[in-house]
Subunit: 223 residues, 2 copies
DNA sequence: GTTCATTCTTAACCTTCACTTAACCAACAA
DNA sequence: TTGTTGGTTAAGTGAAGGTTAAGAATGAAC
């Protein structure tokens, strides 16, 4: 299976060079010339790696990256930047960049980074399964024994975390971290969402339930 | 919680510089001067990131990396290399490197890469073991011969202390200190919790028991 | 812009559970 | 006997967790 990447870059000449070079290496490379177009392509397709210029018309790279992560898409992102300041790089990593490259870069350099990043998430699965419960990551939808399980963005993130840790207890702190990241709500939001998720599992009479580990957190287990 | 990294590097001057700089940033940095020593430290401790020189006495960086991955340890590894050839880098990524840096590098550069890699770190498991009893620290859960042992926050702390001291007697004072810290309860709480923990060990018919050292404290021992 | 639906946060209230406490036993030594 | 040390049990309390509903925020449809 060949690698599929997206390049978001407004310099048309540079873009053409990159696209051509990657094609030679049997890497398919789509191209978007601005941030907005980039985002819609990312929503539409499933890329292995996203190459993102920092300075973009319409929507800058950092914002694009932020929006991608907000939609709980964890495709590896390689930031391309003309600047070389520590501040920019740290800002990049804070919004969820995986790596960066300072322009002008050697095209071979780009190649190995793309190869490395595409491998990193190669263990990526688009569906998670536990008994009869199936979570489709791409479409944010879940089914139990072929009945739909209704998920909101937050309950979906929770369910994903639970299924990735399969039966293991997860601390409240971890759960809050995976749902909200840094900006955490002040109050008892988590327990409300856990409650919603439990309700949905009950509704389909799932043989799975979210058990409480008092004083620690929760675990999704077979009954 | 501060970051804990290991630097495997034979150039003592460089090593000292790196260690000092990282300490300033509140990152604890252990140092090994050759590959063999590096490997044993990796086995012994739980690092967030490993910084690995490519040219090392006794066992080169690539081999160290390979061995680490073979022992299914997925700590992020940052390769430090004097060479800049595409071949070396690809070789690095093939044996499981996560990133690399070409010498001479800016120390700030190293810092942001360490920060980025430490974030990426996947759920490392730290477990304590004694006979068939296994305590999973991250999930606050224990099993004996694969049966779950039910733990409350306090019995979990007690069990952790007992297993860390493996068979050694621990004074009441020590136990109370590890569970409650400064604000200690007035009464006989400790013996109640010890009792609960004993009950749980009995329930799974563990070949371990908490023995009383009269006038001193307790010890967890094989029967 | 307004309206509507959906989702998230917040807060109030209720329930459950772990922890503390204290009382009572058992073993043993003085 | 009595005092000391440790073990067992159970009740009460407070904190942690569960439930519900109202209102704020968001975003799509018009």
């Amino acid at each position: 299976m060949s690698i599929n990447v997206l390049l978001v870059e407004d310099d048309i000449d540079l873009a053409a060079t990159v696209v051509d070079y990657l094609e030679i290496e049997d890497i398919n490379c789509d191209h978007a010339a601005n941030g907005v177009q980039g985002l819609s392509l990312i929503e539409l397709n499933d890329y292995h790696v996203i190459l993102l210029d920092l300075n973009l018309p319409r929507l800058d790279g950092l914002s694009v990256c932020q929006k991608v992560r907000e939609s709980s898409n964890d495709t590896p992102i390689l930031m391309l930047t003309a600047r070389d300041s520590l501040k920019d790089k740290i800002a990049g990593f804070n919004v969820g960049t995986d790596d960066y490259l300072v322009k002008p870069f050697e095209i071979e350099e780009l190649l190995i980074r793309v190869l490395a990043l595409s491998k990193r998430r190669s263990g990526q699965v688009s569906t998670l399964q536990m008994g009869e419960l199936v979570l489709q990551l791409k479409t944010h939808s879940a089914t139990y024994a072929n009945q739909a399980v209704k998920l909101t963005p937050i309950t979906c993130k929770l369910l994903e975390k639970f299924m990735r840790e399969a039966s293991k207890p997860i601390s409240r702190k971890d759960l809050i971290q995976t749902v909200w990241g840094e900006e955490q709500p002040d109050s008892n939001s988590l327990k409300v969402h856990i409650h919603h998720l439990r309700k949905q599992l009950e509704k389909v009479e799932a043989k799975l339930s979210i058990e409480t580990e008092t004083g620690f957190g929760f675990a999704l287990r077979e009954k």
